[in-house]
Symmetry: C2
Subunit: 241 residues, 2 copies
Amino acid sequence: MTALIIGMGNIGKKLVELGNFENVYVYDRVPKDIPGVIRLDEFQIPSNVDVIVECASPEAVKEYSLQILKSPVNYIVISTSAFADKVFRERFFNELKNSPARVFFPSGAIGGLDVLSSIKDFVENVHIETIKPPKSLGLDLKGKTVVFEGNVEEASRLFPRNINVASTIGLVVGFEKVKVTIMADPATNHNVHIVRISSTIGNYEFKIENIPSPENPKTSMLTVYSILRTLKNLESKIVFG
Amino acid sequence: MTALIIGMGNIGKKLVELGNFENVYVYDRVPKDIPGVIRLDEFQIPSNVDVIVECASPEAVKEYSLQILKSPVNYIVISTSAFADKVFRERFFNELKNSPARVFFPSGAIGGLDVLSSIKDFVENVHIETIKPPKSLGLDLKGKTVVFEGNVEEASRLFPRNINVASTIGLVVGFEKVKVTIMADPATNHNVHIVRISSTIGNYEFKIENIPSPENPKTSMLTVYSILRTLKNLESKIVFG
């Protein structure tokens, strides 16, 4: 499998290290020297690329997606908070209709998207509560505090780097059905997500407590392994979930 | 998409009704008249079949899988408790190595297989607690009672019809890492599953409370929609999780 990875932050570097690729092209706005990869100085899609992984930023999703959708590739998107912007969202899915690409949204830092996407037509509402150390939100607090309560669009304007999980859920069930709570808790040193789904098929609660990656406490390794799973499932003989 | 569905119980009938198939062959040991399908009197795999869905029984999985693995099809397996039998399990995965088939294990009655299969190499243990109405276990009890505690193999011998969820988890992480608790609770009228995953990547707890299907309280509609999702993902332009 030949990949193009957009974004050489912590996730991108881990993918280069752990992914089982024949060739890897990388593109990052800030050129970085990464061993064993082919660095692109300008964004382009080499014709032998099978899969493109975006792990850069919501801005990158907005900037490159429409060009990517013109190519017959598998496109894996991580910075889904780009889709909290309704204008971009509608343009993207409109373009996808006549696109030769397939688009994959991995579960990322959470789980339970298997249930959610199975019963999406029967979901009444989803509440996602994210509990973070105050520092990671740029705050200095003594007690557990509700920092935000509202919908995904508002959350993405105030916390653009912290809302991928809620945006992915919004893409599955519709943004109007998703309520977001962000809590800052000085007693925690890592991110906790609690996803509560009410539907006519059943009620589901997923509690996700990711241990911070030692190299970069802001990135959960679950996100990295979730992308690697999506990559493997493209050609694996055994697919779970 | 042309499908062959093995088993015309509640799940099979729902798949015929809700699946978006061009043609549907069905096979059931007890012939049943189902409108709009092509009934096979003996088990065989018509050459135009793209996907085979087993929703019959662990016995059917054991009886037909090796024949299915000789064909270039997508094979969706539901009655995974067949794999609690180590001899069959090893034979199946050995056969799969040189098989032209791809095998899919949908999340079925639970969720969170996206997380579990992403981090499978880092899982320390999984505990699945299933709470059922005493009647569905053939019991008549006054209070909440632990009916079983042990591993998947033992559980599958004692409750062969109730252990698909635990077996699927066993297939992902290894049967030796899975502990099963079955509780009977007269206060509940439906099945509740609580899956607790400990790993070096994070700790996860998934609570799944399925509302019983009005037509057959023993089958959760989540299982049906989980199979429909796996079918859709085979050709969909958008894949979540």
